[in-house]
């Protein structure tokens, strides 16, 4: 009871104070500050919800293994920069297990893989983008599973979404306010990488969706995992 009250206070009192206080304090950088707050604050309620929900041991381990797979995947394909299965595994998790597991896998992959690849101010935004891409795929699970074309489109969308979010943050942070030429320049400079993201997402989704989905189905049928999400 006490703890819940504390959490509520935290959510409804502290957050506005932090966001607006920060925006006032960092006058020059309030855009950047607010974007950072949005990225971090999107994760909190979802993590909080996950923390409170009861998760069976096998379910927890499946989430752990999927996160580990997408981190290890970054290593496996480290020789092709920008070519990484993180988005694909996040999306596939969300398609088969639901929006929340998708978000958790996506955001945790960002946080944990950066312990190997280097933390930086980009970490919250990676957590936000991958988490959100997972959550969204969870909401679109049915059509995505039915139509290959939609899946491909989602992969392309994911590649661009990820890039645009990252560039948006860079623009806010580096420039004075929002400068459109800077944003355009960043997007243009990042275009090859963005395209690579999009293409690799599509390839990974097409190659991995079937096998991983089958295996997750096998787990669901054989061990009865993740039933509530369906």
């Amino acid at each position: 009871m006490n703890r819940r009250l504390l959490t509520r206070i935290c959510f409804f009192v502290m957050i506005p104070i932090v966001v607006f206080g920060g925006a006032l304090l960092f006058r020059e950088q309030h855009y950047a500050w607010i974007t950072l707050c949005i990225a971090v604050l999107t994760c909190l309620p979802i993590w909080y919800d996950f923390e409170r929900r009861e998760t069976g041991s096998a379910e927890l381990m499946v989430l752990s293994v999927l996160t580990s797979l997408s981190v290890a995947g970054r290593f496996l394909f480290a020789w092709l920069p920008g070519f990484k299965p993180v988005t694909a595994i996040t999306v596939i998790t969300a398609m088969w297990l639901g929006a929340e597991p998708g978000f958790i896998v996506g955001s945790l992959t960002a946080l944990l893989s950066n312990f190997y690849f280097g933390q930086g101010p980009w970490t919250p935004f990676q957590m936000f983008s991958w988490g959100l891409l997972g959550g969204l795929a969870g909401l679109l699970a049915k059509p995505l599973r039915k139509h290959k074309i939609l899946l491909c489109l989602y992969g392309i969308f994911a590649g661009f979404f990820y890039s645009l979010v990252m560039d948006l943050w860079s623009t806010f942070w580096m420039g004075e306010g929002f400068s459109i030429p800077r944003y355009v320049a960043l997007i243009t400079a990042a275009l090859p990488i963005t395209l690579e993201y999009a293409i690799s997402n599509v390839i990974f989704l097409l190659v991995l969706a079937g096998p991983i989905g089958e295996k997750l189905d096998r787990l669901r049928v054989r061990y009865g995992l993740f039933r509530e999400h369906q």
Partner: protein, 601 residues
């Protein structure tokens, strides 16, 4: 009576046979009980039924009492939530809520250590792993701290207490699993073939710790095992399961007598000392011996005493005749002066190592952990490159083979984990893929349907030869270790290799499986294939190799056919040789010894 199993019958959903039929026995507090039987006899099912959190779903009748409390999962079905789906979603029984009181009782009272050391570790550090179960029980942190400290001291793990769990060796991992379970102070410890994945040294360590837990702490132990050589001397009580039925329940001596009398396949798994003793009895000479040794000998020490009593008044006889080893022909695969290290600043794992294997020969490379034998194998398989020296296949350097030719009709490699070979949903799909590739390589101009037909025919021939036709439609993860090993061998043999490299082929397979595997390898060598197996298992090497070598510190230090190789070793040798070396110097395998005993009587 700590554990009592009363008339338990169990059947998996949709199965046509009972996995367990009318099993009933009891184990007293403080006993060390061994549950033995061939793989698939129901050992694991029984252990999992006793540990209610792991109980499989199915039809169960009878009762299981632990310390007077009924732990059977009927009704409140703790496992139901997880396993109900096995019935198919439509007629799955409503998942009842787990019963927290009985769950807590089971978590505190019954501990279990399973076969795979890797799969039971949950967290990333050793100390957290030790604390994990105690955290689950909700103990205050001061109590956890004390228990963890006690465990670390009892197991002597202070030096690796701060390590990451992934840095540990297999043996250390399994000890950690044991320590983590023991920290919860269970009264009953269940062990499901805990040493099957370990090398002999680590396995011996593990067994001695288990014996200490039993003797010093008084924890009751029920251990499932199919290799009896080392556990029988520890056991107070042995239970023999065969196709779900309990055939024998008594002392090790009673088990030995039963196995011998019924010519049960498990008789081959008995300790060498016991087998020799029983053989002597069978020939009539033994009756005199038996009067002096009331107990059946189970260890090398007792076996020597038996032989000593038996050979009193006789002179040491000549070694039994053995067929001369095949002549050493031209080397099929040879490493000469190879050097390898894993990083520029790391020490050499292999230094000027040379080894050659001829066509038609089965060569066993022995060596302890860290001797570099797995590294040498991957060099020979062309998976890693030496920084000096060369590996030649039929005189041609491995690096000189054009891409895509080395692993076609030349070289094949079976990894330690046969699962690694499989990537498809069924064994059939995987094999078919491999055989089609081989077929289209042999007949490059064949049409697609011809390839498909030819490949299917080839595959069936191979599967019949290896007796794996029944498991073709199974998922590679659903079959037993021995079956999977044969299936992996089938896939590897699809390319008709002339050189076959095997990494620990006999690991975790029961006596039947080992025998079948050895027969297949024998056929292959007869066809002229060169077989190199890397192993820890001296018994396997002694029985099936044409030539053995010992790798130590990156160097092959002794080589020879099994007779001379093992006869020259005092410690690194087989139980039969250690027992009978003084009487029959050339004897290295149990069968040799039995033969020698028969001849000289």
């Amino acid at each position: 009576m700590l554990l009592s199993v009363e008339n338990v019958t169990f059947r998996y959903p949709k199965a046509s046979n009972d996995a367990l039929r009318g099993v009933g026995f009891s184990v007293n507090a403080g006993d060390f009980a061994v549950l033995c039987g061939l793989s698939g006899c129901g050992k694991s099912t029984l252990l999992r039924l006793i540990k209610r959190e792991l109980a499989p779903f199915g039809d169960l009748s009878g009762r299981i009492l632990v310390d007077g409390t009924d732990v059977t999962s009927i009704g409140s079905a703790a496992g139901a939530a997880e396993n109900s789906a096995a019935y198919g979603a439509e007629n799955a029984p409503a998942a009842t809520k787990a019963d927290p009181t009985r769950d807590r009782f089971s978590a505190e009272t019954v501990g279990i250590v399973l076969q795979d050391p890797e799969a039971q570790i949950v967290t990333d550090t050793v100390w957290h792993e030790l604390a994990f179960g105690l955290e689950n029980l909700g103990l205050p942190s001061a109590v956890i701290r004390r228990r963890v400290a006690e465990m670390a001291a009892f197991f002597g793990m202070e030096s690796w207490y701060h390590k990451k769990t992934y840095e540990l060796s297999g043996g250390q991992k399994q000890l950690l699993n044991l320590a983590a379970v023991l920290a919860m102070k269970p009264k009953l410890l269940l062990l499901d073939e805990p040493t099957a994945q370990l090398d002999p040294i680590a396995a011996a360590d593990f067994r001695s710790v288990v014996a200490r837990i039993n003797k010093d702490l008084g924890v009751t132990i029920l251990m499932a095992e199919h290799r009896l050589e080392h556990v029988l001397p520890l056991a107070d009580k042995v239970l023999l399961l065969d196709r779900g039925e309990l055939l024998c329940d008594g002392s090790p001596a009673a088990l030995a007598a039963y196995l011998q009398a019924n010519a049960h396949p498990m008789a081959r798994a008995l300790p060498t000392a016991t087998r020799v003793y029983l053989a002597l009895q069978g020939t009539g000479v033994g009756s005199a011996v038996a009067s002096e040794h009331v107990n059946i000998p189970l260890t090398v020490r007792d076996g020597r005493a038996t032989l000593l009593a038996y050979s009193a008044g006789k002179t040491a006889s000549d070694p039994a005749d053995k067929p001369a080893g095949g002549s050493v022909g031209k080397p099929a695969i040879a490493a000469s002066g190879v050097r390898f290290r894993y990083g520029k600043d790391l020490p050499d794992v292999l230094c000027e190592t040379s080894l050659s294997v001829s066509a038609g020969e089965h060569y066993c490379l022995l060596g302890g952990n860290g001797s570099g034998k797995t590294t040498l194998l991957s060099l020979l398989a062309g998976l890693k490159q030496p920084y000096a020296g060369s590996v030649r296949l039929f005189g041609k350097k491995l690096s000189a083979f054009a891409p895509g030719t080395l692993y076609r009709e030349n070289l094949a490699f079976l990894p330690q984990q046969p699962r690694d070979v499989f990537v498809e949903k069924t064994i059939r799909e995987d094999l078919l893929g491999a055989f089609s590739r081989a077929y289209s390589h042999a007949f490059p101009k064949a049409a697609a349907d011809v390839v498909a037909e030819g490949a299917a025919a080839d595959m069936l021939t191979m599967c019949e030869r290896l007796h794996i036709t029944e498991i073709l439609l199974s998922h590679p993860y659903d079959v037993s270790g021995g079956e999977l090993q044969k299936a992996a061998l089938a896939k590897v043999l699809a390319s008709r290799p002339k050189v076959l490299l095997l990494d620990e082929p006999a690991k975790g397979i029961d006596v039947n499986g080992k025998g079948e595997l050895a027969a297949i390898l024998k056929e292959l060598t007869a066809e002229g294939v060169a077989v190199l197996s890397v192993t820890h298992d001296a018994e396997w090497a002694a029985e099936h190799a044409d030539r053995c070598g010992l790798l130590f510190d990156g160097e092959v230090i002794s080589e020879g056919e099994p007779g001379e190789f093992f006869a020259g070793n005092a410690f690194y040798t087989t139980a039969a040789n250690r027992m009978a070396g003084d009487f029959f110097p050339g004897v290295v395998t149990c069968d040799d010894l039995l033969r020698a005993v028969e001849v000289s009587s």
